[in-house]
Symmetry: C2
Amino acid sequence: MPLPDLAPAPALDLTADVTTLTAAVCDIESVSRGEAALADAVEAALAPLAHLEVVRDGNTVVARTNLGRAERVVLAGHIDTVPLTAVPNLPTRREGDELWGRGTVDMKGGVAVMLRIAAQATEPARDLTFLFYECEEIDGEFNGLARVGATRPELLQGDFAVLLEPTDGAVEGGCKGTMRVDVTTTGVASHSARPWKGHNAIHDAAVVLSRLAAYEARTVTVDGLDYHEALQAVGISGGIAGNVVPDRCTVTVNYRYAPDKDTAAALAHVQEVFDGFETTLGDAADGARPGLHLPAAKAFVDALGVSVGPKEGWTDVARFSALGVPAVNYGPGDPNLAHMDDERCPVQQYVDAEAALLRWLR
Amino acid sequence: MPLPDLAPAPALDLTADVTTLTAAVCDIESVSRGEAALADAVEAALAPLAHLEVVRDGNTVVARTNLGRAERVVLAGHIDTVPLTAVPNLPTRREGDELWGRGTVDMKGGVAVMLRIAAQATEPARDLTFLFYECEEIDGEFNGLARVGATRPELLQGDFAVLLEPTDGAVEGGCKGTMRVDVTTTGVASHSARPWKGHNAIHDAAVVLSRLAAYEARTVTVDGLDYHEALQAVGISGGIAGNVVPDRCTVTVNYRYAPDKDTAAALAHVQEVFDGFETTLGDAADGARPGLHLPAAKAFVDALGVSVGPKEGWTDVARFSALGVPAVNYGPGDPNLAHMDDERCPVQQYVDAEAALLRWLR
């Protein structure tokens, strides 16, 4: 008897309603680095659509109209999820007005909305690019958006991008940047029974922590949105042994800065705060301006008629920003439920997001 | 052809001068837990001496006179050393007026002085106990003095003890106690892009460190000696991840306290300093009063005619103190050279120590 073939992923029916399609997308499990089956299903669903050019790159799928419109808009969403819960929170289940399960918030509702629009918007007012990408939930080196942006940037070009990450149905513009900086104090080691022969570096860190505790973070308005900056210790370490006055203490601080600053300006501010101490830049990722003054963005906000605020966390909109494409976050689902065991979303949010985006794009 | 026997350690000649004997004791390598050969040699050298009762316990050797004197004095020294340097600093070598090599300071000069006195003081004014013990340089669970003190305390009884640890030829009385206490701050974790939803425990540690930096340690006079207390951070840790406001920070402090206090009194002081914070006692070892007002101790100081100061570090005199035996440190060698790659001692210090102790004991 021959061995059975591995079951292929079920086909995605883009004519089904968006809630049914979201459930189908969620039920093709795609924890980061395991997106092949879902990428296959997305590619297979889009390939027959005559108005779209479909390109596969790894487990990332790009689909584009080429209608010669004056503007091009990019809709983007990652197709991976964080791991399932111990008792797997898949397949999805419907409870009352909500869809429960991994991906229902982050962000297969957005993926389903993109697929629905790709199928319906055959004659859009603006050319459209749909990016379904892999590995957003893990280390940036695997990120499909980053890879395609580096190797085939022409596929991602556009005048404006919408990232369909969950925003609870609001528009969140741009994002703050983030950097980690080590602030180090140095002393002189000695036996802790005779500390007057040394100098305690941990005691010196009192000044570093006092400056952090007293720090008043700025609120910076960029393109009409208020970004709340933050400067926080996220780690501290020091000490050699239980009987030694330590000669070194390192406070790792995380600076979240408004998108009016680049890495150099942000680092200069941190160095000013910790004047007199040794600072070492760890990693940094600049934020993204919301670009809400641009025509495509204005039209987007007007068409949606939803509230507009700043994105406080760093998201992949910054990768679009680095490619010269202004971007906002807008998608169904409460971000506070992302990654949670009880991940779930009111299905009306899927319906509303699809309708709002179609209003804008048709 | 039979396998060769392991070469026995060379015999120790107790009639040789103290410098020659020190070199011979050093040259029988005895890194902690490898003291068998040296313990064998010590036992073999003492066994023929008719005025001494010799007891072997593991690699610890006890030798005692039983002359019915009114007082009994204990001379004690460990026979182990820290490991040798990468290019071994044995065998010893003589350079000018100094003997170089592992153990020349810590503390085989003291061991040689004890062996010389054991051989010469056949009719001492006070009964004598000589304790040659293993494993002082490593974790206390292996310490030969601690073991014999627990299992055969009668072997260590006396009116006064001298520990021949290196003191550069001065008398150092008693020792300070030491305890470690964790001082912990607690907060509320949140994403570091939205820190206003959490509370940063590392920032709260600013107050803990500021109290340490401002702390003015007391100098406490006990039995005529001034002990300099100290309260130092010896470790600090906190932080969950680079993008999380930490909910916990722990500062490990080391309190070195004068021998007028026991564990409870010392802990109460630490808790008073860190009032308002959670404190957890780690380990604690009380110090030892110098007991220099006692007749045997007075006679000792008078006979030696050397300077008398407090011992700032914790030493095994505290183990004698716990057995009810007042104790001081007195021995050849500069303690700052103990454990160093260039460990070395002026040979005159061996000669002086032997002569001073014989003046007192005869």
